[in-house]
Symmetry: C2
Subunit: 346 residues, 2 copies
Amino acid sequence: MTTGSDETAPTRPTSRDVARAAGVSQAAVSLVLGDKWRGRVAEATAERVRAAARDLGYRPNLAARNLRLGRTRTALLVVPALTNEFFAGVYTGAARVAAEHGFGVVLYPSPEGTGPARDPFDSARAALDGVLASSMASDAVAAIRGDGLPLVMLDSDPGETPATGTATVNLDIADGMRQVTDHLLTLGHRRFLHLASAVSSWTFDVRAHELAARTAHVPSADIRTVRSALTVQAARTAAHAALTTPRPRPTAIVCDDDKLATGAYKAARGLGLRIPEDLSVTGFDDLSLATAVEPELTTVRLPAELFGERGMAALLAVLDGRTPETTALPVELVIRGSTAAPAPPS
Amino acid sequence: MTTGSDETAPTRPTSRDVARAAGVSQAAVSLVLGDKWRGRVAEATAERVRAAARDLGYRPNLAARNLRLGRTRTALLVVPALTNEFFAGVYTGAARVAAEHGFGVVLYPSPEGTGPARDPFDSARAALDGVLASSMASDAVAAIRGDGLPLVMLDSDPGETPATGTATVNLDIADGMRQVTDHLLTLGHRRFLHLASAVSSWTFDVRAHELAARTAHVPSADIRTVRSALTVQAARTAAHAALTTPRPRPTAIVCDDDKLATGAYKAARGLGLRIPEDLSVTGFDDLSLATAVEPELTTVRLPAELFGERGMAALLAVLDGRTPETTALPVELVIRGSTAAPAPPS
DNA sequence: CCCTCGACGTTATACGTAAAACCTAAAGGC
DNA sequence: GCCTTTAGGTTTTACGTATAACGTCGAGGG
């Protein structure tokens, strides 16, 4: 029924309404409310304007302001999944820095897995000034590149920075993996299973590369790799399959993130293996999951909020025409109960 | 250095540029690209326009469109925390329905805990048509109410629907809690610990009320309540404190959500209590955490995506001037390994 | 006494789009 | 032959804001 339309359309007041109420011109309202009235409008008049705005419940029309200014002071943060605590931290940091500069941050969780939806980015697109995107959400990023928006990639390959208006911010993933590998090597482990992410991106490629490089000059070191989707269930299945092949069983499972490690826990339990006596397990990210499982997980802590802060700072720099300096943020190995020396080959 | 400004400002092409390139008026471009050209523009001309738009890489200016149309086709989803898988599901459902109607959804994670930041909503505000808000993010909602935006509350008290342009969508939390309570009562439990959320909102109040109501007519039934922030660590501390008081130990812990239940697990383990032999534990939400812990958790599964779909449908109805019908969506008890009959009082 | 200058505003304009109102020419009806 | 209709567009306007450009009035200086 589109018939019943009330006549008193309660349309939101505009700056012109405020002007009428205060007995001034619309321009004066804009000056006062935009805090640019010093030496242009008398204090008494300004107060009258503010009072009128308050009375009418005036809220500026964002669309009009954005159109006039040619910018929106809004940035998009593209994340691979909403459930990831790590990206929650990234958001928090990014939002804080953005707010300090009068910017807002809007989230776009890239639809996972199910192939590229028809223009996966378009529906979420608010009017944006720039984009901060995780390298893990690569399918969504492609659509964004075409829009010519300033773009800062999170944890993408710093070597290739093709387009202008594009920058990269990184965590020192390589060093994190180095610390994990050295820790396990020092404990005496030689046979590794690498439970890797099925989605390929720089941040995961680095892990594999560093694990291989670090063990390359260790005699008798052996690495097997198995890939899995980034869920506990998928990891459990993948780990179970890998642990039941006839080959000599690995003494340590190195996982690309904590969810995968939790899957490894469940697979090990299912096979009657004790952690860490029969099998050491390491994770990556240090999510709350890492301390929820038993035993608590040895993993690599990432400075998520700082990462978000740096990313947003880089984006603001790009928007400002400056070139952001790019550094890799340090990460930290957290040793807990899931790693120990392997049982001697009896 | 704001001195170096390049002269070839690569400004985005407008519909007027497209018009020039295609040799038509700007209005014709708008008609063609807006798919309203049937019987108004010749097919050949339309094709010329589309080609020009493609060549120039034309993207319509959202701010201008929003201003012109007076609406943005964008809704805000206010969630209490980004890490919550439940709200990830809600988002997925809401985004799907929104997309079917040409709407986009933007997320606003209400800053948790640390008191109301200065206008917590303002910084994230894109130009919005309406808001979908969790009742758990109550502080942010207050700011939104003032803006006069159409608002649909998720899991808020359906009894009080004060403002116009406001509706409520609910899950049948009461029934979920009824099922939990009945399950435990049937197993023979009589002494309960209710590990409740420290943040108060309708969705949690219902749990407490139903637990009390359901056990009221059971002789010798006893309930103690302890509140905790919604994190594993806080829950562990709270549960530990409650389990070490001199009073007779409860045989079952009923938790307001799965995170709290995980905290209860850790507290129990720390005290040498076995689950479920010495202590039954129940959760709420059925997050992936529920199957990551050992033993897997008996909990209540919530139809998160359906909830998001219904919420967005209700918001779209309100925006359309219709009155959404309000129903409580069914929930389901999932019985796993964390509940069993209590040990006989030997 | 004229000119300048600062204080206090106002008027006018542009941002890019959508759509209502308008125009023109050719085809068709009677 | 004149009137109507229809296809195929164009001209114009409005959305609400920010700001550059422009007035105006009184005080003060020379």
